[in-house]
Symmetry: C3
Subunit: 234 residues, 3 copies
């Protein structure tokens, strides 16, 4: 390996290493190729929810330090948190993804995006479709079992616990997944299904089933989820 | 590697590769041995729910194309869907498994079946007992966290979302797991527990807890699950 | 490899092998170093809930034989059960962990503990903070998706199904996780949140959300969990 000198190089190296040894190896995909693609996405100008990948990943790392009481240093966040590593992979996959009609099809780029999604699902148990749009400063706490569908969006500074699904109802095609606002907190195991909106600063309790829109600032719990209060506006 | 020329050889190679690099490596089990066993099971005549493995895996792949709106080609289904790969491993494990009293015990064959189950659980987060019987055209969508017990059965063309458990109540021994019909849809995170029947074409909502039989065509939701309607008979 | 002659050497070798091939490889951490650390923890006198690691792991293995109807031999328990292997890793991580103010910080020992936690989370989908205290004879059945927080405790002979979280409410810092008694059974997918007590011999049904203390011997189900009965005192 050549020495990593920048934040982007260090993170690309960590992610490549975890995938190369854990779920793929040199015969599925050359680690150097994987590293080069992740780093190129990292250094590129393509925006996701208004942020470059370099900006978004920095905010993702800061979010862990601020919000996870069990995490003390930036180094442990980027080395050990599989939610963080999964999000780096998603951000690289999204830059490889080409939407339908834009020359995607079975191109190498589309398959690279699907490979990154699949490897993150094997290695970390986090399955995010490459076309999903995720803001910056997002934390997947513990992360195992998170599923985020193709047409879902997640706003800045939202926290998503393990086992959360942003999925479809199975009755719709096309734009069929949730739109989550900023500063939202989604509790462990919760399923939010269908093309519905969860407003900014909403809090959804653990193991809720959300099938209707939740307004900003609301606290919702249960199956089906009902609103039990509102946080005071700031 | 020798070149793979048939559907069976390609799928056996993909699965072997994912396990050999991800969860086992050459020192746990020789990849060539693993490949040979999977391919032999694939080419064999042993039936599971009335289908050979070659027939069942073809239908499993077709089911993904038909039912997953995010999947466009057969190639991405068989390369990237860990639910599909887990089911191939289960079908091979089931052919290695010998029931009690049939010369199983701690034979190499029994341990091979348990190894395949364990490796699928590590590599894909899908834990299916080798003795479970699963029909053809079955799709595990996203797949993380699926658990299927020893005496469970799943009918043809059933769709099971991630996080679903077909488990025991902990109070019974022997035949203690659910019997799921054909064309059933089981939503994300749902737990179906005990030796109960879920009839053909039933739909079970996300995060349900099913402890009593569900008749064919019923839609059931909640914890404990209650029936909220029936699909019209075809 | 040098031949493994004792129970401790065999288990350390199995765990090292699973991590070395699955999630780490020789360039993250030298397998010999990993093996040496796990074995040293295994042979040490440090107590967790009153038991040395050697005592606790023996009881963990016996618990699987006694309580899992699908497991027939000790060998299959220690080779194939990722819940067992995760618990070995936790017990080694806990011996590496140094609490705040005890010379921990970013020491090699603290990072080794976090590495073991992170690797268990990648390889087995089981995320246990190294500081958590877990009694002996504990079984994680199926294990995928289990999350246990920093200040949680689990009593002897307790059984925890897959998808269970012993987590925080997100509103507290410091001592913020559940205290689970002895001989407790926690059903699949259940979330127990906050610094609350679950008494000895309690049974919690699948997909429950437990936010208040549960007395010893109680059976509780639902979201939020309500008590539906008591087991007779022995």
């Amino acid at each position: 390996y050549k020495p990593a000198r920048t934040f982007e190089e260090v993170i690309s190296r960590i992610v490549t290493h975890r995938l190369s040894t854990c779920s793929g190896g040199s015969s599925t995909i050359c680690p150097d190729y994987l590293y080069d693609h992740i780093l190129a996405a990292f250094m590129g100008n393509e925006l996701e929810c208004g942020h470059t990948m370099a900006m978004a990943v920095r905010e993702d790392a800061r979010a862990i330090i601020r919000r996870d009481p069990a995490c003390e240093t930036l180094l442990e966040a980027v080395l050990f948190m599989k939610g963080f590593l999964s999000l780096v992979l998603h951000r690289a996959a999204r830059r490889a993804w080409k939407p339908d009609g834009a020359g995607g099809g079975a191109s190498g780029s589309r398959f690279l995006a699907l490979l990154l999604q699949s490897q993150a699902s094997s290695a970390f148990g986090v399955d995010i479709h490459p076309a999903a749009s995720i803001g910056c400063g997002v934390m997947f706490d513990h992360a195992t079992g998170v599923v985020i569908g193709e047409t879902a969006t997640v706003g800045d500074n939202t926290t998503i616990l393990h086992g959360v699904t942003l999925g479809g109802t199975g009755k719709e095609n096309g734009d069929r997944h949730p739109k989550i606002g900023r500063d939202v907190l989604i509790g462990a195991g919760t399923k939010i299904l269908g093309n519905i909106t969860v407003g900014d600063r909403a809090k959804i309790g653990a193991l809720s089933v959300v099938l209707r829109p939740i307004p900003g600032g609301a606290t919702a719990v249960g199956s089906p989820a009902r609103i039990i209060g509102f946080v005071p506006k700031e």
